[in-house]
């Protein structure tokens, strides 16, 4: 093991932002920068930098055509950060974003292609996967991208299996493929007294009414149409249920106001955005159930934050989020897809659900009582306090052997 810290450049979403990739980038960078083994920097899209983050932060020059993911920046950033030192570049991205790093033909910048052929660093990937393609494997292009890595890490056991099927066991073992889940800061998602949390939602929520939450970003992969359909069915069958939708933007891929109006949910639904962390926590504590209508999650933070706050969580039985929910012991809250479809440039399979299945399961969950402590305990292993020293730090230590 080196006595001098090894340069580690993490390429992902901006660590000071709030999205899922930003969070895992920030958490990994923050934790590993505490170790004397590595010296950390990040290279990110839209990074404005923050003095609160104690490492060097580089910004992708998005105005350069073809430089969407930092392809043009990597040579100069590495030179600036590491000089002649050998180190590690770790991407926390979907493999389709990393074409330019591992497949020279897809890189618009000859200087980068040439640089990637040099022996400047090991390339590690913490691979974001929220779907597979035909044959339950990745499409050929993303699979080829993964072959350009020296070391691979999946988000979930499901993700590891998908990569293994896509590149084969020999290539996977050569890249020491394994999986590690994201962590959550359990202390920041406390369990509160449910009645107190619900009382804080007065006058929207009255005594005797139940609350179903939906927490998701406004993007195509989060099926707000499914959520709206399911909520309407729930409302028709149980007049005591109200809804809380938390979304980053109300007009983007979906029009939240249009969904509320067309599905007749307006009077029974509270929509929030930009909540403080405390407000988000007590609303999750107030929920009797949360719905997670993502059509494939690499991990799915809101699912496990909901459980940490003592609220049951329904999710579709597909991809990484379903895998982790099953591991936590809540297989009964996974909704089986009715069918599948193929979408996009990389033939990603997406599940198709019947909203009635979600509504029926939701009503069943609402009719049961739940041990909120047990819900929280089921995600205790994801607490960074224990997950980092038990799993992540040994993984980084192993990387230097």
């Amino acid at each position: 093991m080196n006595s001098k810290p090894t340069p580690l450049l993490i390429i992902s979403d901006a660590p000071e932002m709030q999205g899922g990739l930003s969070r895992i980038c920030r958490d990994v960078a923050a934790n590993i920068s505490q170790s004397p083994l590595y010296r950390v920097a990040t290279l990110s899209r839209g990074c404005r930098g923050s003095r609160k983050l104690p490492w060097q932060q580089y910004t992708i020059r998005e105005h350069i055509p073809g430089n969407a993911w930092g392809e043009a920046d990597l040579p100069w950033v590495w030179q600036d950060f590491a000089g002649r030192e050998r180190g590690v570049v770790m991407t926390i991205y979907d493999p389709t974003r990393c074409l330019g790093f591992t497949l020279p033909d897809y890189c618009a910048f000859p200087e980068t292609s040439e640089f990637m052929r040099g022996d400047h660093f090991d390339l590690w990937g913490y691979v974001t996967l929220d779907s597979t393609g035909p044959g339950d494997r990745l499409s050929a292009l993303p699979a080829n991208v993964l072959l350009g890595y020296h070391r691979l890490l999946a988000y979930t056991k499901w993700g590891e299996g998908a990569i293994r099927r896509s590149i084969g066991d020999v290539a996977a073992d050569a890249r020491r493929l394994t999986w590690l889940p994201h962590g959550i800061e359990l202390d920041r998602w406390p369990l509160c007294i449910k009645e107190t949390a619900q009382a804080r939602m007065h006058p929207f929520l009255h005594e005797g009414e139940r609350l179903v939450g939906v927490v998701a970003t406004n993007q195509p992969r989060k099926d707000w149409g499914l959520a709206a359909s399911a909520c309407r069915e729930i409302m028709l069958q149980d007049k005591t249920v109200k809804f809380w939708w938390h979304v980053d933007l109300d007009q983007r891929h979906w029009s939240i106001p249009a969904l509320l109006a067309d599905f007749g949910l307006g009077g029974r639904t509270q929509v929030t955005a930009n909540l403080s962390h405390d407000d988000l926590c007590w609303r999750l504590n107030a929920c009797d159930l949360t719905l997670h209508p993502g059509l494939g999650e690499g991990f799915g933070y809101p699912i496990f934050e909901s459980l940490a706050c003592g609220s049951p969580a329904l999710h579709g039985d597909y991809a990484g989020g379903a895998d982790v929910l099953r591991q936590c012991g809540w297989e009964k809250w996974l909704i089986r897809p009715e069918n599948y479809r193929v979408e996009g440039l990389h033939n990603q399979i997406r599940p198709v659900f019947d909203p009635m299945d979600w509504a029926d399961r939701a009503l069943a969950v609402l009719s049961e009582t739940h041990d909120r402590d047990a819900l929280r305990a089921s995600v205790a292993h994801l607490d960074w306090k224990t997950l980092w020293p038990s799993c992540w730090l040994p993984w980084f230590q192993e990387g230097l052997k």
Binding site: K157, T178, P181, C328, S378, H381, T386, L387, S390, C391
Partner: protein, 250 residues
């Protein structure tokens, strides 16, 4: 002094059990090739009224021996191989070796340990090797020497320095179960290697700690059933092993 051979017995032992223990203890000496002046033999005799329990006895033996290497052997372990002790001591010529045994696994801890919610079976050992008479029933027969992840408690030969650094055996935390798992994890924590030496032997089993008298002792002295101690010990070890499990030697 080069080696302490240490064991504990539960008295009174009668009839066949007494004969078996006598036969086993004799086999250690008969097959020894270490000069007697270099050999220290200590037996902890537990009685109902002053039973130290398994880990308590190991601690007593550690405190009541002086040799730099201590062979903690179960009293129902019969050694069949001449020169077993010289073979074991040769392993300790390498200062990186802290723990040696006669049966062990190539992996300790499941692949998903700490990544998924706790389950007792995550602490299991895998790919077990030994040269006991019925080795094939427990895993695979192995007669050579090699690094392993974990050892079985019937034969734990430890560098005293390792116990010194660890502050002795975890008597309070692991009164009976998992002390062998603890030994391997502790060796790794302090940077030592764990070695399996395929010494020919028989582990008769079931003569001491698993007797009804011992079960009664746990209930009376600790106020807990064996099942409860088993569960608590594993949970404690689960947390103790963070960062060191799974350990693989493949």
């Amino acid at each position: 002094m080069r080696l302490a051979i240490a064991t504990a017995v539960l008295l009174p032992a009668t009839g066949p059990a007494d004969e078996l223990v006598g036969k086993c203890l004799a086999s250690w000496v008969v097959n020894s090739e270490v000069a007697s002046v270099d050999l220290e033999q200590v037996v902890r005799r537990n009685r109902i009224e002053d039973n130290l329990g398994v880990t308590g006895s190991l601690q007593w033996l550690y405190e009541n021996t002086t040799a730099p290497v201590i062979a903690f052997l179960h009293s129902d372990t019969e050694i069949l191989e001449k020169g077993w002790d010289e073979r074991v001591l040769r392993e300790f010529d390498d200062p990186s070796v802290g723990l040696v045994g006669f049966g062990g696994g190539l992996q300790h801890g499941s692949e998903d340990i700490y990544k998924t919610p706790y389950h007792l079976t995550q602490l299991a050992r895998y790919d077990y090797l030994s040269n006991v008479d019925d080795a094939d029933l427990h895993g695979r027969r192995f007669t050579e020497s090699r690094d392993v992840a974990v050892l079985d408690g019937f034969a734990l030969i430890m560098r005293r320095e390792l116990l010194d650094r660890a502050g002795g055996w975890p008597v309070q935390e692991l009164p009976f179960h998992c002390y062998d798992y603890w030994a391997a994890i502790t060796a790794h924590k302090f940077g030592y290697r764990v070695r399996l030496v395929g010494v020919s032997c028989v582990h008769h089993g079931g003569t001491t700690s698993t007797t009804s008298a011992a079960q009664e002792y746990w209930q009376q002295s600790l106020g807990k059933t064996d099942a409860a101690i088993h569960e608590e010990s594993h949970k404690w070890l689960y947390n103790y092993g963070r960062g060191y499990l799974p350990w693989r030697c493949k």
